[in-house]
């Protein structure tokens, strides 16, 4: 009786959790309701985790003697894993969000893989379907685990350069095939009952090792600019793996939550890939960012460096300014200074808007978060499709730390690697200022024709230092007038 009540309770709380997850995600679709959305989802999680301990009453007979140890282990794991991650998550800088999301995502994938490992090593799967799904979940979870760790290392700067070698795609393909072959062999042995070449536990170990290596190999050659797509893909992978393991454990809450996240991750991946004008297979299987010998059409005009103070004063007396921030701004920690400058010219009557390209930053929407952190209200922030027509009627476009996303070659130059990528039409503004550290190229390694355009001036320097000079110059105007 007690067992039945506990199982009913687990079923009911899982149902509630699944509802709260979806409702929470739904509330996240507007900045106004979003903070309560994560709270709602959090309640669902808390209830589900607490209820899962009721499973104590219905464990297998073989596990009964171990139960006190297992309960202790579970509590310790929850406290250590949860505590550490919470502590790090609370204190990490906002610019480090992409790597945090990558590592937490990898943990989820690893957990899904580990659940599959318990099922496989303990020989707990029943029937062929369950075994296939377990193996599939194990593969995807393990790939997501090791791949996310590599993505974290890249984003955190531990791994500096993409690792590429001749014949890499063929090598990666072979490792993938080997993994699938081992998985297939496990299935064959289980089905036919034949004697395996290796003992079963070792076969399973080999399978996991291959899957982990797959994740590492897949992620190593991918360049920094492609990280938004990679994080989205692994997010989708982990969701999928969780959903599949949910089926193995016969737990609908895991199935639903995992699949919702899997689909969401896939959608975000497609959005990101579209924003970069590349297919997903293109991101995963070709080496972007290697300097290609590409015939650059002759660029007319010259680079015109100007003083930061002059540019600042010009914007102070403009009537409208659109700011195009890129990752370079965040790298220079210039968001606070930028917003200080914006407030200054805004109070002088200048209309200021921010234009965000979908792939600005290292994960989807990261630039929006960084601006929000600096205090920029979200109604000043506009997305590409909402603001692109306004550039033509704008006095000044201030491009700061961005490059490829404002390169007009994407519209005109068919031979350019970024041809067809949607860009912000900063070049159509009456005046363009580009704040840049030096005369370097963007991630795509292409010279930007915008910088040479008639209406474009370059302000060289560290974004933060340049903005400080602009602020000083505009303030100087105010005090000179008062004197």
């Amino acid at each position: 009786m007690l067992i039945q009540i506990s199982q009913l309770t687990i079923g009911a709380t899982d149902l509630i959790a699944a509802f709260l997850f979806m409702y929470g995600l739904k509330r996240m679709s507007s900045p106004v309701t979003a903070p309560s959305g994560i709270y709602v989802a959090g309640i669902g999680m808390l209830v589900a985790v607490l209820a899962s301990f009721l499973y104590i009453l219905s464990v297998d007979a073989a596990a009964k003697p171990q139960l006190p140890i297992n309960i202790g282990l579970a509590v310790i794991a929850l406290i250590i894993g949860g505590g550490l991650a919470w502590w790090v998550g609370k204190k990490v800088a906002m610019t480090a969000m992409p790597q945090m999301v990558a590592i937490y995502n990898g943990m989820g994938g690893g957990a899904a893989g580990a659940i599959a490992a318990v099922e496989l090593f303990g020989d707990k799967t029943h029937g062929l379907t369950q075994l296939v799904v377990t193996l599939l979940g194990a593969l995807i979870g393990a790939v997501s685990f090791s791949g996310s760790l590599i993505a974290w290392a890249k984003l955190d700067g531990v791994l500096k350069n993409p690792l590429r070698f001749r014949g890499q795609q063929i090598f990666n393909g072979l490792v993938m095939l080997l993994t699938l072959a081992v998985g297939g062999y496990i299935l064959f042995i289980t089905k036919s009952g034949a004697t395996p070449l290796l003992p079963m536990p070792q076969l399973t170990e080999l399978f996991f090792a291959c899957a982990l290596v797959c994740g590492i190999l897949m992620t190593l050659p991918i360049g920094g600019a492609d990280m938004p797509v990679v994080i989205s893909i692994y997010n989708a992978f982990t969701g999928l793996a969780v959903g599949l393991e949910g089926f193995v454990l016969q737990n609908p809450a895991l199935m639903i939550a995992g699949m919702v996240v899997g689909a969401a991750g896939l959608l975000l991946t497609l959005l990101m890939a579209k924003a970069m004008n590349r297919s997903i297979s293109n991101v995963l299987f070709t080496n972007f960012g290697t300097p290609k010998k590409h015939k650059q059409g002759a660029i007319k005009g010259s680079l015109k460096p100007v003083d930061a103070a002059d540019a600042g004063i010009f914007m102070r007396y403009a009537s409208s300014v659109i700011i195009v921030p890129g990752y370079g701004l965040a790298a220079a920690q210039g968001q606070q200074k930028l917003y200080e400058f914006v407030k200054l010219i805004k109070s002088a009557g200048v209309s200021v808007k921010f234009a965000i390209h979908p792939v600005a930053g290292r994960m989807p929407g990261q630039m929006d978060v960084l601006l929000a952190e600096a205090g920029v209200p979200y109604d000043m922030i506009f997305q590409l499709e909402d603001i692109n027509d306004e550039f033509a009627n704008t006095d000044v476009a201030l491009v700061i730390g961005a490059n490829d996303v404002v390169n007009p070659a994407a519209r005109t130059d068919k031979s350019s690697p970024i041809y067809g990528m949607p860009i912000l039409n900063a070049d159509k503004a009456k005046k363009v200022y580009v704040v840049k550290r030096g005369e370097g190229k963007g991630y795509a390694g292409i010279v930007n024709a915008l910088f040479y355009a008639e209406n474009c001036d370059m302000v060289y320097g560290d974004a933060q230092a340049v903005l400080a000079k602009m602020i000083e110059a505009v303030r100087g105007l105010g005090s000179a007038k008062a004197a």
């Binding site: 989802a41 139960l67 580990a114 995992g258 109070s347």
Partner: protein
């Protein structure tokens, strides 16, 4: 396990299909400005895997299963706690113009743009 409903074959596929569709529709409506918190939020949601980890660990009968199960719960708990911490931090930062405007001080006169060579 005896008392639980069995989810097999097409029932599982129906659950997967409907869940995937819901995810697609829910996320499709989210504005680009919220993509980072959203991804981090969905990252938190798949942390439900910790529940699966707890089931697997409680059911473990050998040392090896206990070790892997412990690992599963450890990672799953990290996913949940970390995902929640960063998502709530990010979402707390989004605010409208109504919440600020305390700093606007400098120069109010609107002057016509300077012509520059």
């Amino acid at each position: 396990m005896e008392y639980q409903i069995a989810i097999t074959g097409f029932v599982a596929l129906y659950i997967f299909m409907l869940a995937a569709f819901s995810g697609w529709v829910i996320i499709g409506n989210v504005p680009a400005i919220l993509h980072t918190p959203l991804m981090s939020g969905s990252n938190f949601v798949h942390g439900i895997v910790v529940v699966g980890g707890i089931f697997a660990l409680l059911n473990a009968s050998t040392r090896l299963e206990q070790a892997i199960g412990f690992f599963a719960v450890l990672l799953g708990a990290g996913n949940v706690a970390g995902g929640y911490a960063v998502t709530s931090r990010m979402l707390a930062m989004f605010q409208t113009s109504g919440h600020e405007n305390k700093h606007a001080k400098h120069g109010h006169a609107k002057v016509s743009p300077i012509k520059k060579g």
